[in-house]
């Protein structure tokens, strides 16, 4: 066996493709591997790996759009359900945190703890809630876990962009910079949960390349 034939494509890139590709797209992964091996033996491992990453990132966009277009109404219904689930679930931890704060009068005895719970504590609870929403949407969207969850995350991303524009127009940029990282964390949590569900569901989806 030559060195070239042992070169494997980037594992994370392979995993990303398998997250977005449908079952029938296993041929797509085979094509990527075939071209990668050829390129690695002709031009070297680093050129082949850069090519693989470029192909992966560009292919994911096309797979996302084509998978959504393949079943637009059912996917959209799951996305809308996920949106309302988020709207229902998001205020609950906040209410619970303030109920605890009120009951034990934390702001009197441990003011620093109160500041943490009322600020980062609520934001952290939103990240956890986003993970739950991501899991629920992924479970409902069988074989389209990443498509439905990705569409939901994009919807929230768009809403945040609009809110950011309003804040900028009002000159309230401090609010923007304190909120944006947590919003970003919410979307990542949502997508991560969907990726876990997808990985658990699909025996073909794994970090180790089967090359």
């Amino acid at each position: 066996m030559t060195n070239e034939s042992r070169i494997r494509p980037p594992q994370v890139a392979s995993w990303l493709v398998s997250l977005f590709a449908s079952a029938k797209d296993e041929t797509l992964q085979g094509d990527l591997l075939e071209e990668f091996s050829l390129l690695a033996s002709n031009s070297g491992a680093s050129v082949a790996q850069r090519w693989y990453w470029r192909q992966t990132l560009r292919s994911i966009v096309h797979l996302f759009v084509s998978e959504f277009r393949a079943a637009p109404w059912s996917t959209a219904a799951i996305v809308v359900a996920g949106f309302f689930l988020t709207k229902i679930l998001f205020p609950l931890p906040e209410k619970a945190i303030f109920a605890v704060i009120e009951k034990y009068r934390i702001f009197d005895s441990h003011f620093d703890l109160y500041v943490f719970f009322a600020g980062d504590g609520i934001a952290l609870s939103h990240v956890i809630t986003s993970m739950l929403v991501g899991c629920s949407v992924a479970l409902a969207a069988r074989r389209k876990e990443m498509i439905a969850t990705g569409a939901l995350a994009l919807m929230f991303c768009g809403m945040t962009a609009l809110a950011s524009l309003v804040w900028i127009a009002r000159g309230n940029t401090s609010m923007l910079w304190s909120t944006l990282p947590w919003n970003f964390a919410d979307w990542i949590a949502m997508l991560s949960a969907a990726a876990v569900i997808r990985t658990l569901r699909s025996p073909e989806t794994h970090l180790a390349s089967s090359a």
Binding site: T27, D31, R58, H62, L63, S66, R69
Partner: protein, 110 residues
């Protein structure tokens, strides 16, 4: 004839590539054929998304080969253009010829 009977630009390129490759038309060769002839980088995801759409429209059909070890135990998906696909390509060619007819003077523009 509805507007859906017309091929989009990339769909047109894909069908032509499949026709050129004949029995050897699968993801890798279709992607490379378009890339080498149009000199633009094409992603394998775009090729498959378009081929799936063309198959849904009935312009191409596909079949799987046996899995091979060099592809990680995965099959190749071979494509061929259907009679409906060939009619669509011919329609496109006639439409483009009709649109281009009499426009030789355009060459004199910079």
């Amino acid at each position: 004839m509805s507007s859906r009977d017309y091929l989009g630009e990339f769909e047109h390129l894909i069908v032509l590539a499949v026709l050129r490759l004949a029995d050897e038309a699968y993801g890798v060769t279709v992607r490379q054929e378009i890339e080498s002839r149009t000199k633009r980088e094409v992603s394998i995801g775009a090729v498959y998304a378009t081929l799936d759409r063309l198959e849904d429209k009935g312009y191409v059909k596909s079949h799987l080969s046996d899995p091979t070890p060099e592809r990680g135990g995965r099959s190749k998906r071979y494509f061929e253009v259907t009679a409906k696909g060939i009619r669509a390509v011919n329609r496109m060619r006639h439409a483009l010829q009709n649109m281009a007819e009499g426009l030789e003077l355009i060459r004199s523009y910079p």
